[in-house]
């Protein structure tokens, strides 16, 4: 009796388990499998935080895609070095005519794309025409609006004609909108990246890893490592544990600085701190009360202790900057002294403006640095008589909807990571609510001038916006924190662009 009753139960369990095995097979996890098992000697694995959602920056914004692909897979005619200086890349040389609108570029010869196509003047025409077409939907494409015409003079010479002289354009060409594509390589941009760079995409496991393989037919100096795998970890502690456990060689762009001290005391690891282009901007809606009053904005500038904010949000790592301009930009100027921490002055300004004792809402995206920064801001503003109500918002979806698109906010905070993005912050219609024709005139004049007046005019504009008008409180510049196993070399310390240059990374 007992056996006959136990029989069906055992059978049911066996069937269930067999179903499980049949369902799962023995390949569970194959869609996330990295290619590190067969990695050639000298291969490097790096841990990063934010995984790109796909490989197509022509239709998807964000720093993660260009971080992995720009310079490594895709290249541009001109590049920018660690000090923000323009250097030749796919263009051997370039010259500008007297009107400042015609750029003639001599291209490198013998350059091929990773699918075998030759890189010629036609590739340049194709790429630059494509940016200006509906194929591109990344908002950064606006940087190419100034281009009137692109013409292939011969196989290795190309002439770009601008609608008006533009100092910013050549710099824009160093960013992702200047990336060179080949017509046969744009069919599946979301999953396949075909460029002229030192690496080709070996494998791409969405949300998990990106493996870059050294190209033997690369036209320049070949990459130092035969293969570099970027591993994306959602949790910073898991990433540092993987470093300690030996499955990754370095953690790049650490977002949890509180995990650093244990590595600093350990000789097996090297900790590097550098700069980024990520300005953490506390926005004050210039079009909404009470921040439509410049006195209230100035009061906030005096009231918030930015050093405390940085200490709390990033354990003191980072750089204080007085405006949304990183020190690596040519028109950087130290404006940190413009609004020293001065609660008394803040209180007086709030009284003058008649808003002392009122309440404002702070839309805080659910990002660790933003939440930490908001705590300090709330307590600082409370001291000067402004009560702040925190409203947590899911980032990116809800924040982009409410704050960026609908401008339904009073105070908010976010890191703006695109290089040289100060003018887009100040553009009319942007969520900061700066709608000042004088700033637009200054921007136009700066862009139309020559190299010297450009820097001077941009500085004037930035002082006007961030000091005189106090349009936003730039809290600090995000640090670039890297922890590497000692012996791993060639990791860039600063990132003056969003690209992570992997060509020199090696292990001794």
């Amino acid at each position: 009796m007992t056996t006959s009753r136990r029989g069906p139960l055992a059978t049911a369990l066996a069937v269930a388990l067999a179903t499980l095995l049949a369902l799962t097979g023995c390949t569970a996890g194959y869609t996330a499998r990295e290619d590190t098992a067969h990695a050639p000697p000298g291969s490097i694995t790096l841990a990063l935080t934010a995984a790109p959602s796909n490989l197509d920056f022509t239709t998807t914004s964000g720093a993660a895609i260009p971080q992995a692909l720009m310079g490594n897979v895709y290249q541009t005619l001109v590049a920018v070095d660690d000090h923000g200086k323009l250097t030749p890349q796919l263009a051997r040389s370039w010259r500008v005519d007297a009107t400042g609108t015609r750029y003639t570029c001599e291209l490198q010869q013998g350059v091929t794309f990773s699918n075998g196509d030759a890189f010629t003047a036609d590739s340049v025409v194709f790429s630059l025409d494509r940016v200006r077409s509906a194929h591109w939907s990344n908002g950064l494409k606006a940087g190419m609006d100034v281009v009137k015409d692109v013409h292939a003079d011969d196989e290795h010479t190309v002439t770009v004609t601008l609608k008006r002289p533009s100092q910013a354009w050549l710099y824009t060409m160093t960013t992702l909108v200047g990336a060179m594509f080949t017509p046969s390589g744009v069919g599946h941009l979301a999953t396949q990246a075909i460029g002229t760079g030192p690496f080709a995409v070996g494998s791409w496991k969405s949300g998990q890893s990106l493996t870059l393989t050294r190209r033997d037919d690369y036209w320049g100096e070949p990459a130092a490592a035969p293969q570099v795998t970027l591993r994306y970890y959602a949790d910073p502690l898991t990433a540092t544990n993987a470093l300690r456990g030996g499955s990754v060689d370095a953690v790049v762009g650490m977002q949890a600085p509180d995990l650093l001290p244990s590595f600093q005391q350990d000789h097996a690891y090297t900790v590097m701190e550098g700069t980024t282009t990520g300005e953490v901007v506390m926005s004050m809606n210039n079009k909404k009360a009470p921040f439509d009053d410049v006195r209230v904005r100035k009061a906030v500038m005096y009231a918030v202790n930015r050093q405390d904010v940085m200490d709390s949000a990033y354990a003191g790592y980072g750089t204080l900057i007085g405006a949304a301009v990183p020190p690596t930009d040519p028109y950087y100027e130290d404006l940190t002294g413009a609004y020293p921490y001065d609660p008394d002055k803040a209180r007086a300004l709030l009284r003058q403006a008649g808003v002392a004792g009122s309440t404002v809402t702070f839309s805080v995206p659910n990002l660790p640095y933003a939440t930490a920064a908001a705590q300090v801001v709330v307590s600082d503003l409370k001291k000067v008589g402004l009560t702040v109500r925190i409203q947590q918002q899911e980032f990116p979806a809800v924040w982009l909807d409410k704050v960026l698109t609908k401008h339904q906010y009073q105070l908010s905070v976010i890191a703006h990571v695109e290089p040289r993005d100060v003018l887009s912050l100040l553009a009319p219609g942007y969520y900061l609510g700066v709608d000042d024709p004088r700033i637009q005139d200054l921007a136009a004049a700066a862009d139309a001038g020559d190299t010297d007046t450009y820097v001077k005019d941009m500085k004037t504009l930035i002082r006007r916006a961030f000091v005189t008008d106090a349009v936003a409180d730039t809290l600090f510049l995000l640090p670039n924190l890297t922890v590497a196993r000692t012996g791993v070399t060639g990791l860039p310390q600063d990132s003056a662009t969003t690209a992570l240059d992997l060509s020199r990374v090696a292990r001794s």
């Binding site: 097979g25 569970a28 996890g29 941009l189 456990g245």
Partner: protein, 310 residues
Amino acid sequence: MTAVRAVARCLLTVFLASIVIFALLRLVPGDPAQVALGVDATPDLVEATRHRFGLDRPLVLQYLEWIGGVLTGHFGTSFVTGQDMSAILRDRTAVTLWLVIPAVLIALLGATAVGTWAAMRRGVTGTVLDVAAQLLLAVPAFLLGVVLVMVISLALGWLPPSGWEVPVDSPGGFLRHLILPVLTLAAVQGAILTRYVRASLEDVLGRDYLRLARSKGLTRGQAVFRHGLRNAAVPVLTVAGVELASLLVGAVVIESVFDVPGLGSLLVTAVGERDMVTVQGIVMVLVAITVIVNLAVELVHGLVDPRVRA
């Protein structure tokens, strides 16, 4: 007849769930096109992207197209990742099942052993076990995971701290990667189940049929083993079924701590990006598994307790 009714009920549940999840995803704030374009978006570009994603078409059409695909086993191409999600969903489900089913089985075995022991010894041992189970209940699973990694992986170097190996690539590596996350999940779930086993068994211990079994000459242990456990099993199995279903997504924290490429972590990313195709696909898989698990629990009830079959 009952079987037909049960299956029909399951299908109806899945169908209703598909409508609810489809509608909910379109009601929550946040637009996939906006997320894709980020801080540099302009209204024109957002509009163009919505068109490219097919989000500007009538909702009924979008729903029918999606559900039609699901019925033929195609979960669709994600407009966020640009990939066909069918294979990825199946694979992620497989990974999560490898984590969750062994964890629940181990929890069930452990809880039966410990819970029975505790129920039969009401004295000091019972109290100690009770306190231990309570403590384990109070510890968040991720904390236990972090501690296990620190001690077993980093300090002792016995097992890898994180990652996943495909079973066919390296069965040994697969098992070594599986142990810590499974144990973490099993410990917390086991603690919950232990309390159910104990309470359920204590309830049974006082019943007449156990006394009758003893009077037939069985020892206390034999009586509990042959008659007590079987009767105590029904509520415990129900809870275990519910746990299994909730763990499919609930394992996300553990997946993140151990960097396991399972369903939960995919769901979190997909929700963040408003990747509707992926979210809908995952939720449908979860609903289907939950329905199947509940059906299985019902069937097992019938096997364990003949009265249920009637």
